[in-house]
């Protein structure tokens, strides 16, 4: 099983160090790499840091900060982990989101010395919006505070309050020192007052169960192979088999699955995740979504969404493009209901005329007919990006589809 984890948090709270430590303690660092990094640190007159295992840009080493997201993999006794390191600096939010967008679990690193800071809040807000299922808070740098239980409790309360206001309920806290390797991979002898799991134990214990969902197939294109029309795309939810009666949206036409093609041989069925080709008795084109008769998706023209803007501004009445699934449609911002603080999740302004960079809002979007689903129901069709002049400038999730 592969589990995708993102490590988030404020700058200098020790995200990269924590990942470097995970790699080192799980014996995933290749031979000679430690010596290489020690030499590099010497050359650049820096003290050795576990972070240098993953901060591979020269500029990252020089500036002692992560600029862009990195994904590394390692194996514990239970699972294969893909860990995304993300920058903790405000100017790199788009890189943080890129790294976090595939994660199922998140680790929020908070320095015991500094407690909740601006990016702690912002990252927690964004992770919540991205639908992260479980969040683990590592209270890091406990070594600097002599592994004091009281300090840990103070930070836990502080972080706990911030997370509760963002809507988190089930959060675990782990006192740790990534630099010293306490409670990351190895159980700490210096914090015997803590009886909970180490970080890796906590991650290993998570069970990611999949709930059954109705069939959704997104169409990527139509190919002509051996004089037969093949609709290629991906099953993003549910199951399909030959003979199933299906509905194509937004054209709202009914048809039937005749063949399920993969190279070199046909399949009888396809399930969530599968990239396949379909032969159907009908027409479907890029951007369309297929579902089964009885549980088919609906196309809408208006929906409420929550968006975060990463570039420029977004005003009421503005027209731009929206991408959802494989669809790309024109879209208009009909209404900006509330501007939301991307730090606290609180409403900061009702009915603003526009929002700016790194700001969030609930908006009413009007589009050409488009299949969207509530993000909490089918995330793959409940999330979208906003496109302006060919640049992806914002991300959003669907709160409610209207009609």
């Amino acid at each position: 099983m592969k589990v995708n984890v993102v490590v988030a948090g404020h700058i200098d709270h020790g995200k990269s160090t924590l990942i470097g430590r995970l790699l080192y303690d799980s014996e995933s660092i290749r031979e000679g790499r430690l010596a290489e990094i020690q030499q590099l640190a010497e050359e650049y007159k820096k003290r050795f840091e576990f972070a240098y295992f993953i901060d591979s840009f020269e500029d990252e080493l020089k500036e002692e900060r992560t600029i862009d997201t990195t994904e590394v993999m390692f194996k514990s006794k239970k699972a294969l982990y893909s860990i995304a390191d993300v920058p903790g600096h405000k100017e790199f939010i788009k890189n943080m989101l890129t790294g976090a967008s595939h994660a199922e679990l998140a680790v929020l690193v908070v320095s015991a010395q500094e407690g909740v800071q601006e990016q702690t809040r912002r990252h927690a807000f964004l992770l919540k919006m991205l639908g992260i299922k479980r969040l683990f808070v590592v209270v890091n740098k406990m070594d600097v505070l002599d592994y004091s239980e009281e300090s840990f409790r103070t930070v836990r309360e502080d972080v706990g309050a911030a997370l509760t206001s963002l809507g988190y309920s089930d959060v675990s806290f782990i006192p740790a020192s990534a630099a010293e390797g306490e409670n990351i991979y190895r159980s700490s002898q210096r914090m015997k007052w803590y009886r909970g799991p180490t970080l890796i134990e906590a991650l290993d214990q998570v069970n990611l169960s999949l709930e059954p969902k109705p069939l959704r197939f997104v169409v990527q294109g139509e190919y002509r192979v051996e004089s037969q029309e093949i609709i290629v795309g991906r099953v993003i939810a549910g199951l399909m088999k030959i003979g199933d009666e299906i509905v194509v949206q937004p054209s709202d036409t009914r048809t039937k699955i005749e063949r399920i093609r993969v190279f070199p041989a046909d399949q009888e069925r396809a399930q969530s995740g599968d990239s396949v080709g379909l032969v159907i008795d009908g027409v479907a084109k890029r951007g369309d979504v297929l579902g089964l008769v009885g549980s088919a998706p609906m196309a809408v023209r208006r929906f409420w969404g929550e968006v975060v803007l990463l570039d420029g501004s977004l005003g009421k009445g503005e027209e731009l493009e929206l991408r959802c699934g494989t669809n790309r449609v024109k879209c208009e911002v009909r209404e900006i209901k509330e501007k939301i603080s991307a730090e606290t999740g609180a409403i900061v302004e009702a009915g603003p005329s526009e929002i700016g960079e790194n700001e969030a809002a609930t908006v009413l979007l009007a589009t050409e007919p488009l299949v969207v689903e509530r993000f909490s129901d089918i995330p793959e069709l409940g999330r979208f990006v906003l496109v302006k002049g060919n640049r992806h400038i914002g991300v959003g999730v669907v709160l409610e589809a209207l009609e």
Binding site: L40, I54, S56, E58, T70, L80, R323
Partner: protein, 266 residues
């Protein structure tokens, strides 16, 4: 093998997105295991026939068996093979002897640059993986290059979920990386499962084998007794050495790879 299926599904999805988004894509093929696996994935994505050119950058310094393997597979799979060389640099006698950095840049990057300009390719599909090198771990699936081929690694585009940006800023072409998320071990398991042909140089002879294939003067074999794919898989499960430990570009100096890649290297 649910995991290999997941890897394959995602790669096929990415290849089809690239095919939908670009007018003139092409795929790069070194004849090594990774890019041969990518060709296999392309055959999966497009039902046997790859609908775009396959570029082989011939530095003139490749191992002989790489050329014979290339010609055999190109024929068997009916590839639209495009062999490119930097003739000017070859004439000038550019080689690893007068500087590896310049050699890589001129014989590979420069040759590719001219080919892209001539053919107007707007996307190049490449078989790099995150776990090969720290710098490659920083890549996007769709990664823009400007007209000078530069990789602006300090300001990479937003890439949310499966929404890849096909046009970003002043880019002239996009590098598409369909197997970015695969590990070396995954590639070998996939090669085994799908029975994908690979160059015999990967298998041990006299206690040595090539783990990564490049140009003859700058690529060295590793100590290994793995004579079959099963043995290679077993070896990799416990190996702690770097995959590219036999490749000179990675070793020269720290950040050589970053500098090569910033100039358009793969």
């Amino acid at each position: 093998m649910l995991d290999l299926k997941d890897l394959e599904n995602r790669s096929v999805y990415i290849l089809r997105e690239a095919y939908a988004e670009f007018q003139r894509p092409a795929v790069l093929w070194s004849t090594g295991k990774d890019s041969t696996a990518v060709l296999w994935l392309c055959r999966k994505a497009f039902f046997g026939e790859i609908p775009f050119p396959v570029i082989h950058i011939d530095t003139g310094y490749k191992f002989k068996p790489m050329y014979s393997f290339r010609d055999r597979i190109a024929n068997e799979w009916g590839l639209r093979l495009l062999i490119i060389r930097n003739e000017q640099a070859n004439k000038e006698g550019v080689g690893p002897g007068n500087g590896k950095f310049e050699c890589c840049t001129r014989l590979k990057t420069q040759a590719l640059k001219e080919c892209v300009e001539e053919n107007g390719f707007d996307a190049l599909i490449l078989a790099i993986r995150r776990d090969e090198h720290g710098i490659r771990a920083k890549e996007r699936y769709f990664s823009p290059r400007d007209e000078d081929f530069r990789w602006n690694y300090k300001d990479q585009p937003l890439e949310m979920w499966d929404q890849y940006q096909s046009l970003a800023g002043e880019s002239t072409h996009i590098r598409v990386h369909p197997i970015l998320h695969w590990r070396e071990l995954d590639i070998w398991q996939y090669v085994r499962q799908e029975n994908i042909p690979v160059n015999q140089m990967y298998f041990a002879k006299d206690g040595k084998r090539y783990r990564s294939l490049g140009c003859e003067p700058c690529t060295f074999p590793i100590e290994s007794t793995s004579k079959t794919i099963d043995e290679i898989v077993e070896e990799l499960e416990v190996s702690k050495t770097a995959e590219r430990s036999g490749r000179a570009q990675d070793k020269e100096k720290a950040f050589t790879m970053q500098k090569l890649r910033a100039l358009g290297y793969m």
